[in-house]
Subunit: 125 residues, 2 copies
Amino acid sequence: MKTTRLENRRTNPDFLNGVPELVLLKLLDRRPMHGYELVRSIKRETGDALAFGEGCVYPVLHKLESQGLLESRATTVRGRERYVYHVTPSGRTKLKRSAQEWTEIARAIQTLLQGGNDDTPVAST
Amino acid sequence: MKTTRLENRRTNPDFLNGVPELVLLKLLDRRPMHGYELVRSIKRETGDALAFGEGCVYPVLHKLESQGLLESRATTVRGRERYVYHVTPSGRTKLKRSAQEWTEIARAIQTLLQGGNDDTPVAST
DNA sequence: CCTTATACCTGATAGTTCTAGGTATCACCA
DNA sequence: TGGTGATACCTAGAACTATCAGGTATAAGG
């Protein structure tokens, strides 16, 4: 349970990894869903750019719930159990922060990638 | 050595993780550098948005060299050894492909994040 | 001579994601 | 009645990354 403070982090946040977490939070913030539905939703909504399997989605759901960022309601539809997850207030806070950090990092990388070979006279050592 | 074909991949590429690899290739494509210089360069050029330590950079450099994507030249400056890395032609090819995939994924995520709560009537099962 | 900065490197650990399984219910069809 | 496929959930094990925390060695400055 790393204390992820923006100020005193000396390392990169989890955003190079934590993309599934971010995506789940965002999709569930749009509308509550159950796990199986999420798996298909991710593929559909990203045009197959992202495809997280069940083995990725379910553990993340459980982790987020245990952290109080998600809550689930068990419903039984046609004999099948469904756990419909929705974002809690603190989950929404987390989502906002995460989305912002992701955007920041993505922009930094994008800027790097777009810059051609530079001839900026860097006073190297 | 997974065969990372765009067509028949059923999973996500390494880009959720392989950011250091991408960044190193890009920076070295701009101008050859040695490892220690890279570490500082990443922080500086991304405005501290990214900060990969030596423990991350050196292994990646070695991996990329062993894959023929980088080559190094040993030089001795003021008694200190330096291994200056530069990108090979196949490294440049890899860089282009990687950068493109990253952009694609980043755009997909960004689109997700920007979309507000949607009311699209999804004919849910 | 001792500390700091440069420059390189690695081992152990922690964390994430993927693969590949597993269970159970229902709908459909023969 | 029995089989198959879709739905819906779950987990263990493996693989991979990146970090942390160390290590070596040279040169410069006090």
